[in-house]
Point group: C2
Chain length 407, copies 2
């Protein structure tokens, strides 16, 4: 009698080479022996995806997205075939499938397609035959059978969506860290592993720079209340549970600190304070494909104001050119840029109802002589832009102040 169905997802570092794949196979076999049914989603081996992008780059600077998907999807197809072989080698029946073969139907937005529906008949049949089902992550097909991919981190989405469709009892996300930490352990060695976190907190963590799980997949998990266990494929320790309500939430206001070093800041000075001006600015910038993130505009006492915003640093040149053009059009003043910024954020569901938290954050930064250049707040996070070289110091100071470190 089956103990129930578990969906597991193994990231690129977990299947980086044949040795690692064999380790994953052993773990899968141990679950199978305990009596679980298993659907296993795999990413591409180690750096395969980057190598394929590099290969395409040698052919074309702007390859058609349909062909990029055709190319990129091979990475996961390779790893799922190899994992099926490794599991068979251990004496269990296994069968690998591409996204198309398991009926993951997407829209036709190549390179970042959205899942429309999953027709899981082949998976159900294989599970009935007592097979471990291995699914290539990150991919699907359009209704015309063109191969699509789900965007960076898309294997997480494959795993979460399959957990929902198959009504599995758990979705385990295996990675190379032991779970979600209060801040990046590479920045603050004293960062603590979080035992349990809510979907909303995790969403903020993901969008503010924690790179453990794809944000879209967390949104889906939240929508369908899918229990997720983020853990390491290199150990058997329990990781972090992502759940609807955190049992330990009361009394804990700040759950984590994130650091994002990949943004740049632009400021338009002396913007005429008229309705519609902000819309005009950001409409023009979006036309060159730049993703504007944090936007701050001070309430002005005069007829003029300054507007600051951040953009991905890689898109700074286009953003700067377009911003200067818009500034002239709207008769604003100079445009200032700063590529050397860091965004430091604190995250926690309880924060909103405790206004003292923001003040505490600003005070900690001040005590450490860290000047705050921009502030932005959301329902469950507060972000400050500081000088890039002070980012790590800020994270450590905040970890300490909010009791997020190991004692």
């Amino acid at each position: 009698m089956s103990k129930g169905l578990i969906v597991q997802k193994y990231g690129g570092s977990s299947v980086a080479n044949p040795e690692r794949i064999k380790e994953v196979a052993k773990r899968v076999a141990s679950y199978k022996k305990e009596g679980y049914d298993l659907v296993v989603v795999v990413s591409a081996l180690g750096d395969t995806t980057d190598e394929l992008i590099e290969l395409a780059g040698q052919i074309s600077q702007d390859p058609p997205e349909r062909e990029m998907d055709m190319l990129m999807s091979t990475g996961e197809q390779i790893s799922c075939a190899l994992l099926a072989m490794a599991i068979e080698e251990l004496g269990h029946d296994a069968i690998s499938f591409t996204g198309g073969q398991v009926g993951i139907i997407t829209d036709s937005t190549h390179t970042k397609a959205r899942i429309v529906r999953i027709d899981a008949r082949r998976i159900h049949n294989a599970l009935k035959e007592n097979k471990v089902v291995i699914v290539a992550g990150f991919q699907g097909v359009t209704k015309n059978e063109d191969i699509t991919t789900l965007g960076r981190g898309g294997s997480d989405l494959t795993a979460v969506a399959l957990t929902k469709t198959l009504n599995a009892k758990m979705c385990e996300i295996y990675t190379d860290v032991e779970g979600i930490f209060t801040s990046d352990p590479r920045v603050d060695r004293k960062a603590k592993k979080i035992d349990s976190i809510t979907y909303d907190e995790m969403l903020e963590m993901a969008s503010l720079g924690a790179q453990v799980m794809q944000a879209r997949s967390i949104e889906v998990a939240k929508k369908f209340k899918i229990p997720i266990h983020v853990r390491s494929s290199f150990s058997t320790k329990e990781g972090t549970m992502i759940v609807n309500d955190s049992k330990k939430m009361e009394g804990v206001f700040v759950r984590g600190v994130t650091l994002n070093n990949k943004e740049a800041k632009l400021t338009i000075c002396n913007v005429p304070d008229k309705p519609g001006i902000a819309a005009k600015i950001f409409e023009e910038i979006s036309k060159v494909g730049v993703n504007v993130d944090m936007i701050v505009q001070n309430v002005s006492h005069t007829r003029q104001t300054d507007i600051s915003f951040t953009v991905p640093r890689s898109e700074l040149p286009q953003a700067l050119a377009m911003t200067k053009k818009v500034a002239r059009q709207i008769k604003a003043g100079d445009v200032l840029k700063d590529a050397h910024i860091a965004r430091v954020s604190i995250i926690g569901v309880g924060m909103k109802s405790h206004p003292g938290i923001a003040a505490k954050m600003f005070k900690v930064l001040a005590e450490n002589k860290i000047n705050i250049e921009m502030i932005s707040t959301s329902e469950i996070s507060i972000s400050c832009i500081v000088k890039q070289k002070l980012g790590k110091l800020a994270v450590k100071a905040l970890d300490k102040k909010f009791n997020l470190i190991k004692r």
Copy 2:
């Protein structure tokens, strides 16, 4: 107005790296500019297939064949996506397809599947939209959508089958040599390129060691009288036409000489000369999966005879063990083995009606002090087993005798 449809196939060395792929794209574009419609079949980049086999070997010594096909088919998927990008880069519309996407339906004999039918609707639609169609060679799908591969050299088969299905006017096979040669140019520098050769001659050449084209694909071409042009992707020179009737056939008896260094010889001594003994021997050997090739049994004057046969050298250990076992069962004598043999063959449609040809071959070998250990003849070929170290000498001597060299 289209000048008609041409199917082109590019082998692994023709698409070994991004630079070579760009060269192939230029050639495709030049045909397109001349007004041809094009369907292009590609093999995997250079050594990709061997690398994937090596990867599987690190996981399992005996991987499931279904998973091997899942793995191996990615090689061609990568190259067809890259070629489509390269053609788009030159300003022509292109679209890549896997074997499954263009409806190449096979039986389920994984790793050496046979094509059952091709549903070419997507190709027709893409051609109507004036797109260059790129098809991943070597692969298809079963009716259950499991990925299959067509065996080594299977891209040739994809190209020939598509030529038939699409009723194309020509199938061009691009490789790294300039066509079919009278013998291997690496063995005899003076070997001549053949302008035109019949399907039957080409079949003998392929099965006797010339590695330019897969034998199965030539069988299909013969069956449907599909004109094939074997030529180099590194030059614009005309190659070799494979046709139903060779215009230059009269007066030319020997068309080519082949050398096969990959076989080993086994001899069972003192076999009782009774009906059914040969059947018994080769039935047992086939049970261990060994492919017996040339078989020679002398007519005997006594009640005993010697039977010699060749097997692929890589399968010698299994073949030897099984042969010894059978020899005991049938109460024969010793089993002798020789791994250091070469098979030298001459090929030509006109040979059969000119009995002097065989004598001429044996005489040339004798003049060069090359001892003949086995002889076997077919409708259009004569093969001799000689000492391996004398193989190249034999080829050169035969080339000269039969006027197959450049003057």
